[in-house]
């Protein structure tokens, strides 16, 4: 006779693929300004994304990971977080970062090869994106530990992709979050692909959310293209976290509509048919459809928003393209608070080489 444990992972959805409510919507539906602000951020993010890809294709920006298909998730994260919370992003969180106060110019500087692109003025405690996959999960539980030690009513949102859910960093961090009752919500954007590796090869687990159970956290699967569903689940998880009731894992299901990065060609490993089906379910159009049905949107407003977003992006691009690189000596100026005496000679030689035009 063996004991068997049964676990439950809920799956939350409010809208169908076309933005039609499946059931009574939460009270959130009455907050029209918030809905419109969310949609505006999604459109701004997509407009920005298109522009950065164009800049990369024309040699004016480095390798860049498109956020296409993740606009709803990031926007919801940005809206649900309090200013005093801390975002620990991964590299496809532009929509959240924009709402946290990272400027479009800073994002362009970052992807344009300039460290100043992570020196954010408006969200000074948010972590820079972590390039080594899933490593940010450990930072998130560290930040959450600091909040717990200081008895603050703040929370951390830690973002990751489906590929990152395979790494020890994520599992170790979920484990610690459970053991120490930390105020951290992991949002795993399951976009079905980790570069060319499909979700089915990433794990035999039916959901990513159920990995929460291994650490003693609740896990939720949410339609990541459903603004209402994700907002409801994330709001509740953050309220629980801030109240000292511990963390959660939210698996936000979506689809990576673009290539992994501008250096990738997704046609090598996935079918046009699959991509077509994903476009039929994507979140920005779904939100627009909902707003239309709710009487909150029309073609004129859409045109005005598109035009505004293009304007914002153009202004940011101009500022980015007009920016001068830092002097090469900057590479040594931020290594330590004060440059150790042992390194001053190297800095002087670098400065001298630069003065003589050795670096152009």
């Amino acid at each position: 006779m063996k004991d068997r444990y049964d676990f439950h992972v809920d799956r939350v959805r409010y809208l169908d693929d076309h933005g039609v409510p499946l059931d009574t919507l939460p009270d959130l539906a009455n907050h029209h300004d918030r809905l419109l602000a969310a949609y505006a951020n999604m459109v701004l993010t997509r407009t920005f994304d298109n522009k950065v890809i164009a800049l990369q294709r024309t040699g004016q920006c480095g390798t860049y990971p498109s956020v296409l298909g993740h606009e709803v998730i990031g926007t919801v994260i940005g809206q649900c977080m309090a200013k005093s919370d801390v975002l620990v992003p991964y590299y496809r969180d532009q929509a959240a970062q924009i709402q946290r106060g990272v400027t479009l110019t800073e994002l362009l500087l970052y992807w344009g090869g300039d460290e100043r692109g992570s020196a954010w003025a408006h969200c000074p405690q948010d972590l820079p994106i972590a390039v080594p996959i899933a490593t940010q999960c450990c930072h998130a539980v560290g930040v959450a530990s600091a909040m717990r030690i200081r008895e603050q009513h703040r929370a951390v949102v830690c973002c990751l992709g489906d590929g990152a859910s395979s790494k020890g960093d994520f599992l170790e961090s979920v484990n610690l979050a459970g053991a120490w009752h930390l105020p951290v919500v992991f949002v795993a954007s399951n976009n079905q692909w980790a570069i060319s590796t499909p979700r089915s090869l990433q794990s035999g687990a039916e959901t990513i959310a159920q990995k929460a159970i291994s650490g003693g956290l609740p896990g939720h699967v949410v339609d990541g293209n459903d603004y209402f569903a994700l907002t409801e689940v994330l709001t509740q998880a953050l309220e629980r976290a801030r109240a000292g009731k511990g963390g959660a894992v939210i698996e936000a299901e979506t689809y990576r509509l673009g290539d992994h990065t501008t250096a990738d060609d997704a046609t090598r490993y996935r079918s046009a048919e699959e991509l077509k089906r994903a476009w039929e379910r994507e979140g920005v159009k779904r939100m627009q459809n909902y707003l239309h049905q709710a009487g909150l949107w029309n073609a004129e407003k859409e045109q005005k928003l598109q035009s505004e977003c293009k304007g914002f992006v153009e202004t940011a691009v101009k500022a980015y393209l007009a920016s001068e690189p830092e002097p090469p000596t900057a590479m040594m100026d931020f290594l330590f608070e004060t440059l150790p005496a042992a390194l001053q000679g190297q800095r002087e030689r670098l400065a001298e080489k630069y003065r003589q035009g050795g670096v152009s």
Binding site: V86, A119, P132, C138, G142, S173, F336, A341, L343
Partner: protein
């Protein structure tokens, strides 16, 4: 002032700093109730509470990364790795994040943290417990690598490391954790980082070492004095950033240098020191620089560890070589 061992001095420094700076926290495996497997953190949980002295799950990568997250919030975590042989699981966090957070955010965030780990051979420990791989860390820009070799320096350098606003790898030579006692004044006074310590002045040869090998190096200097050879002994202490000035000044005086370290030779910190001396003090040198080191092989299991570790006789032999030349 009381006579304490090196590991007791570590404990004293932690307690002092925790009592005087509420941002200092300690985390690691078995550090709270058990006080650490070497008792370096003993008593801290009772005094400062579990909130500031935290037993972590058994996951070194997590320990390294959690400390980064705490540090960017302004805490000053002191994270213990139970043995240096287990630190490698945390290398991703140490190299990719702790060492570069300040640089990659242009100073917006930084990591005022200390990673402590006992290291080195000579205590009949299990496999993976006796290596000296400090050179791995010295190679990483953005890290300080500090190694005390006496109770006084353990106390003063650990205080300095905790107060330093940047990440410090603090490696404790466990062979001499309890080998000697020394009077240490528990007064909160730090010793300088990025600085060598001249332990004994001499004119004929400069003996350069750090960590537990300082014991054999000092013993060699005593024997040499008996033979009429005056050896200067320098404890490098901060192997990165390296205080080349002190080393160069000494070699300018003695004209001869012998470098002693437990770690294997290839790519060791001794090579960096030798290259620096050759570059900047070539004309002062009256003999080639000689290194006395571990062998370029896997640290042997303990029946043969003494055969691996540099002995006093090895140092004396090296000095004979450079003096005879």
């Amino acid at each position: 002032m009381s006579d304490v061992t090196l590991v007791e001095a570590v404990n004293m420094a932690l307690a002092w700093e925790m009592a005087h700076d509420e941002d200092v926290v300690v985390l690691g495996e078995d550090v709270a109730t058990n006080g650490g497997v070497f008792r370096a953190t003993v008593g801290l949980k009772d005094r400062f509470g579990y909130k500031r002295v935290m037993d972590t799950p058994l996951a070194e990568n997590l320990i390294a990364g959690t400390a980064v997250g705490m540090a960017v919030q302004g805490l000053k975590p002191v994270a213990e790795f139970q043995f240096m042989g287990f630190i490698y699981a945390g290398m991703d966090q140490i190299i990719c994040h702790a060492a570069r957070m300040r640089n990659r955010t242009r100073g917006r965030l930084h990591c005022p943290l200390v990673y402590r780990a006992p290291f080195g051979g000579g205590i009949h420990a299990p496999e993976h417990h006796s290596e000296s791989t400090e050179a791995l860390f010295a190679h990483i820009p953005g890290l300080r690598v500090v190694i005390p070799s006496s109770p006084q320096r353990a106390y003063g350098l650990l205080l300095a490391s905790i107060r330093d606003p940047d990440p410090v790898i603090f490696l404790e030579p466990k062979r001499i954790y309890r080998a000697v006692t020394q009077a240490v004044d528990d007064n909160g006074e730090a010793l300088p980082l990025d600085t060598c310590f001249t332990l004994r002045e001499g004119d004929d040869v400069t003996l350069i070492s750090w960590g537990a090998s300082i014991m054999e190096t000092l013993e060699a200097a005593v024997r040499l004095a008996e033979q009429g050879v005056s050896a200067e002994v320098i404890d490098v202490a901060s192997i990165s950033p390296l205080d080349r000035e002190t080393l160069l000044c000494s070699v300018a005086k003695t004209g001869r240098a012998v470098i002693v370290h437990e770690a294997c030779r290839n790519g060791g910190v001794g090579a960096e020191i030798a290259a620096s001396l050759a570059e900047a003090a070539f004309l002062d040198l009256q003999a080639p620089i000689v290194r006395v080191t571990g062998y370029d092989t896997v640290m042997p299991y303990y029946r043969n560890e003494q055969a691996y570790l540099p002995q006093v006789a090895d140092i004396l032999h090296a000095v004979e070589q450079v003096i005879a030349l």
